[in-house]
């Protein structure tokens, strides 16, 4: 790799300068401040905050529910995208526009809306109650809120990839004797897999960082329905900036690890592809 201008377009130096400047000012600097704040703690204090039972419980909920939400979105986001891309029906444009609503809504509004519906006396909640299913103020509610606010990422990531799957490929597979499921498994899925993974990653990242919508529906019982971002706010409210920074650092490291792992998986998939080709 070299820093020589890689294309005929001028202005590489200028744009690269802006890129590094912006990334530094907007992303790296705040992150560095976070690390610094946490680093000024005493080691035992740090361990005490980060590995307290309450913190461990919140990690489990935050990452577990996010993972679950992203998985749900992986499946249903794909189905929604498929419906929007492959079929033409009245109201298709409307539904397409509706997908982005969770983007535009203040997350607190989503949380309040969900609570209204799923609380014990809510529209749906009152029918679930006799069945012994409690949604609001349990981990189920948290997952639901995270699924809602991260759903657009999954749909929007898969949609363009599905558009690119040529009909001819399916036709070809069909004339070669493949049934629908076989075509889906061997032709469509491999083609959109990278997009699906991207959708999953984005959903997951969004869900981990979510705060506004969850606190309304979660009930926020320590150890049970308390997410890490909330724990951080609680620390802040007690003016324990260092504790908040420590928890923030843990989230940072864990999120980065997960995202990096998924990225590696994608690169690995591509490389395996090329290796198979070159051997």
């Amino acid at each position: 790799m070299s820093f020589r201008a890689p294309s005929v377009l001028p202005g590489f130096g200028l744009t690269f300068g802006f890129t590094t400047f912006f990334l530094s000012a907007m992303v790296l600097l705040p992150l560095a401040a976070l690390v610094l704040a946490a680093g000024s703690m005493h080691w035992s204090d740090f361990v005490h905050v980060v590995f307290s039972a309450r913190a461990l419980g919140s990690y489990r909920l935050s990452f577990g529910a996010s993972f679950l939400a992203a998985s749900i979105n992986l499946v249903f986001g794909f189905i929604i995208a498929w419906t929007l891309v492959r079929y033409d029906f009245p109201g298709r444009k409307l539904i397409d526009a509706l997908i982005d609503m969770p983007f535009a809504l203040p997350t607190a509004v989503s949380g309040i809306a969900l609570t209204t519906v799923f609380a014990q006396q809510g529209w749906i909640g009152r029918y679930l109650e006799p069945l012994g299913i409690k949604v609001a103020y349990t981990w189920l509610g948290v997952t639901l809120a995270l699924t809602l606010i991260s759903m657009p990422f999954a749909v929007r990531a898969v949609q363009p990839a599905l558009l690119e799957v040529q009909r001819d490929l399916e036709d070809a597979a069909e004339t070669l004797g493949a049934g629908r499921f076989y075509v889906f498994r061997r032709i469509i899925l491999p083609t959109v897999l990278p997009a699906l993974l991207t959708g999953f990653t984005l959903s997951f990242a969004r869900a981990v960082g979510e705060y506004g919508s969850v606190i309304f529906i979660a009930g926020n019982l320590p150890m049970k329905t308390e997410i890490t971002p909330l724990l951080i706010v609680i620390h802040l409210e007690q003016f324990d900036y260092q504790g908040a920074a420590a928890l923030g650092l843990v989230m940072l490291v864990m999120s980065f690890t997960v995202l990096f792992a998924i990225n590696l998986l994608q690169t690995w998939g591509r490389r395996r592809h090329l290796q198979a080709a070159n051997s």
Binding site: Q166, D168, D171, A172, E174, T175, A276
Partner: protein, 586 residues
């Protein structure tokens, strides 16, 4: 028969994209479906593959009706224009796809793959990805993949469309070799006539959803039956000529008619002169062939082996040459000529030079419609009539001309009345009150084909066909077939019998309908549906025409007695075009 299509029809949004196509393709035959884009050839191929359903008709493969069988169970191999290779799979996986679906064991798969790769000359490319191959190589892989499951039929949908000329030729040869080696029945769809000539055992030419003509390349080229085939397959000059007792009369030349002599009296025909059948000489006396006319060279283009010229014929009264569309869609009235190097050395020409033009060979199209003559009581009305949209569209599609004719006494009964006037081609009059009377007037004076056209009539979506009297049957069918080749409409033969349609008449009527249908199919290549009605002829036809819009009637008549009276309902102020075919007793 490997592939049998029986009256296959497919509509998209009410428009017939494939219109009543019937075809038999033999075992091991290489059949090429040739047509311009939008002619329905690809849709037909997809219907054979099972990827597109049909609205009407049947498709059989090797004697089994597969009309409602899913594509994956039809046992066909299909190759697409854009290759449609699975990009995330290696060449090996692509080729083995059909075998994996069928759970064929690995060893057998590998063996078959090697065999196929050798067949398409791609040995050792197993582990490449499609993206690492050139276009030609990718298409070879696609061919191998389509053959993996040993299909009984191979379908190729414009397989060379995306390749450059050199590769195209190479791949053509490969595919032809593979086809010969395997003896597999193959259908290739293309819009490229060179490709069709190079590969086909037989060619089927499609236009506007109809299969116009089927035949060996040479036969189709030298003896086309339709204007479309004559001009689409190679270049052709279309000329208006007259069939006389001596032969074919074109401008100055009378050429002995080699083909079947017609017992009918002298009439106008459309003649095809291929550019290579034209001879140029400095003077009439120097010609070795029939003198056609003199002309001026307009343009000379050197293309290597051949020289392409355009010659403007001298405007001797009226040029017999029918305008053809130039590359820019503009009408040109120039004679196309191609000459070999040998001819060029004998007599070199340059633009602006006067030449004598001769023709070696003329082919007369069996088409019964030659030209249109818009006829009205005044020149101005005739002019207006000649600009009717339906008429101009028909003439443009038939690549023929519209002339005008003024008959000041049109419809005026005179004592000396029925002197036969010289009517050539199809006479056209406007639909108006008392036009039944005018029609009779014209028919009695020798008009053979008469089109009664309402103002602003739209192109018909359905053409009703009927004839009164057996003498008009052949001509009516021939003219219907000719019209329907140029109009994307469905043909319906309406059989009408007197009475109520009870008792023994019905079976008799149905038999007659079936006879008519098979004659239309066999003798004129016209696929038509049939309807049985009972009642008075003109009344029933009028009722049928009134049932839905955008219909046209072609009716054959032999007897002109009480014509105006009988046809008043059909013609006077009618909303539909009626083409009257008059044959039989003059």
């Amino acid at each position: 028969m490997s592939i049998t299509l029986d009256q296959v029809t497919k509509h998209y949004g009410g428009v017939p994209v494939v219109n009543d196509v019937s075809l038999d393709i033999g075992d091991g035959e290489f059949f090429v479906l040739l047509g311009p884009s939008g002619s329905g050839k690809s849709t037909l191929l997809r219907a054979v593959a099972g990827l597109t359903g049909v609205d009407h008709g049947r498709i059989s493969l090797h004697g089994h009706d597969v009309t409602h069988v899913a594509a994956r169970k039809r046992g066909v191999g299909l190759v697409f224009q854009n290759y449609a290779l699975f990009r995330h799979m290696t060449v090996a996986d692509n080729i083995e796809f059909a075998l994996r679906v069928r759970h064929v064991r690995g060893r057998v798969r590998r063996q078959r793959r090697q065999e196929l790769l050798r067949l398409v000359a791609l040995e050792g490319m197993d582990q490449r990805l499609p993206a690492q191959l050139s276009g030609g190589q990718q298409q070879r892989v696609a061919v191998a993949r389509a053959l993996a499951h040993k299909p009984e039929v191979l379908l190729l949908d414009e397989p060379f469309g995306a390749l450059d000329a050199k590769i195209r030729e190479e791949l053509r040869r490969t595919i032809r070799e593979v086809q010969r080696e395997l003896g597999i029945t193959t259908v290739l769809v293309t819009h490229d006539q060179d490709e069709a000539f190079a590969m086909a055992d037989r060619i089927g030419i499609m236009n506007l959803g109809r299969l116009l003509e089927v035949g060996a390349p040479h036969d189709l080229y030298s003896r086309p039956a339709t204007r479309f085939v004559a001009t689409f397959l190679g270049a052709a000059n279309l000329l208006l000529a007259r069939r006389t007792a001596d032969g074919i009369q074109v401008a100055g030349a009378t050429i002995a008619a080699a083909d079947r002599t017609s017992a009918e009296n002298e009439h106008e025909v459309v003649a095809v002169v291929r550019p290579e059948e034209v001879e140029l000489a400095p003077a009439r006396s120097a010609l070795t062939t029939n003198y056609l006319a003199s002309g001026v060279v307009d343009e000379v283009v050197f293309t290597g082996a051949l020289e392409k010229l355009r010659v403007r014929l001298d405007a001797a009264a009226q040029t017999p040459l029918l305008a053809h569309s130039g590359a820019d869609g503009e009408a040109v009235e120039l004679l196309q000529v191609t000459r070999t190097q040998h001819e060029q050395r004998g007599f070199g020409v340059s633009p602006g030079q006067n030449v004598a033009v001769g023709v070696r060979r003329v082919h007369v199209l069996p088409t019964p419609l030659s030209s249109f003559t818009a006829c009205a009581a005044s020149a101005q009305l005739a002019q207006e009539l000649s600009r009717e949209p339906l008429l101009t569209e028909l003439a443009a599609r038939m690549k023929t001309r519209i002339t005008t004719r003024c008959e000041p006494k049109l419809g005026v009964a005179e004592a000396d009345g029925e002197t036969a006037a010289d009517f050539v081609g199809t006479t056209v009059i406007a639909s108006q009150t008392d036009c039944a009377h005018r029609a009779e007037w014209l028919l009695r004076r020798g008009a053979r084909d008469l089109l009664v056209l309402p103002t602003g009539a739209a192109a018909p979506q359905r053409v009703l066909i009927h004839w009164m009297g057996e003498a008009a049957r052949g001509a009516t069918l021939a003219i219907s077939a000719s019209v329907l080749r140029h109009v994307p409409a469905e043909a319906v033969y309406v059989g009408i019998f007197p009475g109520q349609g009870s008792g023994g008449r019905r079976p008799h009527g149905i038999r007659e309908l079936l006879d008519a249908r098979s004659e239309a199919q066999v003798a004129h290549g016209l696929e038509m549906r049939t309807e049985l009605r009972f009642g008075e002829v003109a009344e029933e036809l009028a009722r049928r025409l009134a049932e839905s819009p955008a219909q046209m009637l072609i009716v054959g008549v032999t007897d002109l007695a009480r014509f105006a009276e009988r046809f008043r309902k059909l013609l006077d102020g009618g909303q539909w075009p009626v083409l009257i075919v008059h044959r039989g007793a003059p």
